[in-house]
């Protein structure tokens, strides 16, 4: 690895090296080593985590170059094939990219021709007194972009100053300079987020907000289809499913916004869509949990689990292919297009849809602020009532019911967050997180036990030795997961007090109940 930490950084269109060399006056001269022009790829996760940190990762042959905007450029060798940060050879690069999710693959964002030029400013003793490193790219036919970093060498400030003076356009060290350069490097950049932002006013009709939210999440789901088919990483399917689940929640939680028959029909159609990918997501989760599952059972039982994971991996392969076939099928495409057409986005489409297809329900015309506040307040009271009934002795079913209602409440709060003070919402959501996590883990444990038990039943009558061994191991795993579930239950009960406390109640009441419709303007500022 070589790393060059910049003392100055410049962005220019082209860089005439010959002219630059000529401009350097005695006793100094410039020695340049220019590499051949080669294809460079810019890599990033689908949700641009590297870009988000103002870094750019270039891949060229066996080499990876990481540009930390205006700060440094590091050069690493990567001989092996890789897709995830943890598969990188160079420890320093793994560390530098440590913030990138271990679940996300790095994919090519852009390919462009480029070359790297290394240079030294030498004095009359041939001593290096300053360094220069340039990355030149052809961003469009005949159009060049050059990123130049300069290094100061201790004790040679004067020489560095002379070199720096040859570059007249210093980069402004702000986001615009980075954003501007990025736009030149990746002209068709489409930022992706799994939390699409829908802007609306507090007086907007609930119908409008709901249909725009559905359109946005449907669009997000569709953006992930390609990644699911190509099987880049498991997050594509995860985001796809979350987006569809959000659509389904809007349909079931936003009561009275749409016509009842329409809602019913859409709910069925979205549920059908979700069902197609249920098994694949389950298998993804099992395989991602492999390490933690193995850690839960004694060493002697691990080989049995490995047999199960091999079976899961094979099944996952088949299931992924099946999902891919479904996604590419004519039926699927037609259904998705039909759904997208049904959920309008523009006002004109909306007017037409409201009258004809996605008909308005009885409450659809209510201002969204009033509608949302009433909905959340009602849901909160329901959850609180459930929560108050739960103690260490209550049957698990009630805890599950609490989880479901809690999740619905959280979804509502997320959908309508732009209507309320961002700061208050943030603290409120943060205060709910611990309970939410425990409820989630509690449920995961129970789903996992069920699935593993099903796996045991399926193999229970097998006469094969390794099946028997597996059944034994999985049994031990189920026991261990059951134990974790019990622990999680204790945590839930412990966290309930804070949820049902007067303090939390007051916060909910203040945000969702006491604010009169007129004071919605107050919240408007945050929209």
């Amino acid at each position: 690895m070589t790393q060059s930490v910049f003392d100055a950084f410049y962005v220019s269109s082209s860089l005439d090296l010959e002219e630059l060399s000529k401009a350097v006056k005695a006793p100094y001269h410039l020695q340049l080593t220019a590499e051949e022009t080669q294809p460079y790829q810019i890599l990033d996760t689908f949700d641009q985590q590297i870009h988000g940190q103002r870094k750019i990762l270039f891949s060229q042959g066996n080499r990876l170059l990481l540009l930390d905007w205006a700060k440094s450029l590091s050069d690493h060798q990567q001989a092996k094939k890789w897709a995830f940060v943890e598969e990188l050879n160079a420890e320093s690069l793994r560390q530098e990219l440590g913030y990138v999710s271990s679940l996300r693959a790095l994919l090519p964002v852009q390919t462009l021709k480029g070359r790297l030029i290394n240079g030294s400013l030498l004095d009359d003793e041939q001593k290096t007194v300053a360094r220069i490193i340039c990355l030149c790219f052809e961003t469009a036919p005949g159009k060049l972009l050059t990123l130049t970093g300069l290094n100061k060498i201790r004790g040679y400030g004067k020489a560095f100053k002379l070199l720096a003076e040859l570059f007249s356009h210093p980069a402004e060290d702000d986001l615009t300079a980075f954003a501007g350069t990025w736009a030149l490097l990746v002209p068709d950049f489409l930022p992706y987020t799994n939390k699409p932002q829908v802007d609306y006013l507090s007086q907007s009709p609930a119908y409008e907000v709901a249909s725009r939210l559905i359109a946005a999440y449907l669009h997000t789901a569709r953006l992930n289809e390609e990644g699911v088919c190509a099987d880049f990483d498991s997050e594509f399917l995860h985001d796809y499913r979350i987006s569809l689940r959000k659509v389904r929640s809007i349909l079931s939680l936003f009561k009275g916004v749409f016509d009842e028959d329409v809602t019913c029909d859409l709910k069925t159609r979205f549920s059908d869509l979700m069902r197609q990918t249920n098994r694949l997501r389950d298998l993804d989760v099992y395989l991602l949990e492999q390490e933690s599952y193995l850690a839960l059972v004694p060493e002697i039982l691990r080989s049995g689990l490995l047999t199960m994971f091999e079976e899961f991996a094979e099944e996952r392969d088949r299931t992924q292919k099946k999902v891919k076939r479904q996604f590419l099928s004519k039926n699927y495409k037609q259904e998705m297009t039909a759904l997208q057409k049904l959920c309008p986005h523009t006002p004109a489409q909306m007017k037409k849809a409201a009258a004809e297809t996605l008909k308005v329900g009885s409450d659809g015309d209510l201002p969204v602020f009033d509608y949302a506040s009433a909905l959340i307040w009602k849901r909160y009271r329901k959850v609180r009532k459930l929560a108050r009934r739960i103690d260490a002795e209550t049957p698990d079913e009630q805890v599950h019911e609490l989880r479901i209602q809690f999740k619905k409440m959280r979804y509502l709060m997320e959908f309508f967050a732009p209507l309320y003070s961002a700061k208050e919402m943030k603290t409120l959501i943060k205060s709910l997180r611990r309970l939410q996590n425990s409820l989630g883990k509690f449920n995961d444990c129970s789903v996992q036990q069920e699935a593993l038990n099903a796996h045991i039943t399926a193999h229970a009558n097998s006469k094969q030795d390794n099946d028997l061994e597996m059944v034994k191991s999985v049994g031990a795993l189920v026991a261990a997961i059951h134990q974790s579930q019990l622990e999680e239950r204790i945590k839930i009960v412990a966290n309930l007090d804070s949820f049902t406390s007067d303090e939390t109640s007051t916060k909910f009441e203040h945000l969702f109940h006491l604010q009169p419709a007129n004071s919605a303007q107050l919240a408007e500022k945050n929209v």
Partner: protein, 256 residues
């Protein structure tokens, strides 16, 4: 920050070559290194193509912390800086003689860069003088190149005696064989005798007599940079490893 001196009370034993290659190898190994060229002839500076310092003159080295820091130059290699010498360094003895507590003056001067470096390598002039005494007092380790010849044997003996007579800790002295010619019977015999005499005090690494080391003057660069696979380069790397271990054993060096 640890202080590692390359010292010999006899000239022409490969002392500067050792200081240059050792400092470079320690820097390569990841330590932040400052090579201090205390020899007024400035051979270390020459090998790194660094010109003599113009402003660190007279006794500024010992008195003017700012100037001392400002005189430091980055080498062409990562982690390695150099404090170039100049002709006034030959008067160090005079300055030191006029100072109280002259023994601790060098260490005090180096304190200015304490936070910048893991190791300071001192390339010392070949005599027993006030400056040498300051080196003996300040250094954590003193690497002493010894040509396996009768004359060198005698100088090494004298050095140990001097330490004995003046109460400098002899444990700091780490002699090693330099410019070794294995085909010479005399070299072999001397090495066997000295190994018997000095035992564990002697470092294991032998620096061979090699053309590459001579060629450093042509390349004006450390051996590893132009002859990495030759025995001389490997020997300096081995010496670095051995001394690095000893420096760490002293315990206070921060290793990155």
């Amino acid at each position: 920050m640890k202080i590692l001196a390359c010292y010999s009370n006899k000239g022409g034993v490969g002392k500067t070559a050792t200081a240059v290659n050792l400092a470079h190898a320690l820097a390569e190994s990841g330590l932040k290194v400052l090579l201090c060229d205390l020899d007024p002839q400035g051979a270390s500076s020459f090998y790194f193509r660094i010109k003599p310092s113009k402003k660190l003159i007279e006794d500024a080295f010992f008195h003017d912390e700012k100037r001392f820091v400002k005189a430091i130059r980055g080498s062409d290699y990562p982690n390695l800086d150099l404090l170039p010498s100049n002709m006034t360094f030959r008067d160090f003895d005079v300055f030191l003689s006029n100072m109280k507590k002259s023994d601790s003056r060098l260490k005090k001067a180096l304190r200015a860069v304490k936070s910048h470096y893991d190791v300071v390598v001192l390339d010392c002039p070949p005599n027993i003088s006030k400056l040498a005494e300051a080196v003996f007092a300040s250094a954590d380790i003193i690497a002493v190149p010894v040509i396996p010849s009768t004359l060198s044997e005698r100088t090494l003996e004298q050095l140990f005696e001097f330490f004995e007579d003046n109460d400098y800790p002899k444990g700091k002295l780490l002699p090693f064989f330099s410019m070794v010619q294995n085909n010479k019977k005399l070299h072999k015999e001397t090495m066997a005798r000295l190994t018997h005499l000095y035992g564990k005090r002697l470092l294991n690494t032998h620096i061979p007599f090699a053309a590459e080391i001579e060629k450093m003057g042509v390349h004006r660069a450390p051996v590893i940079t132009f002859a990495a696979y030759k025995p001389a380069a490997k020997a300096y790397w081995g010496l670095q490893k051995e001394l690095r271990k000893r420096l760490l054993r002293i315990g206070r060096t921060t290793v990155r």
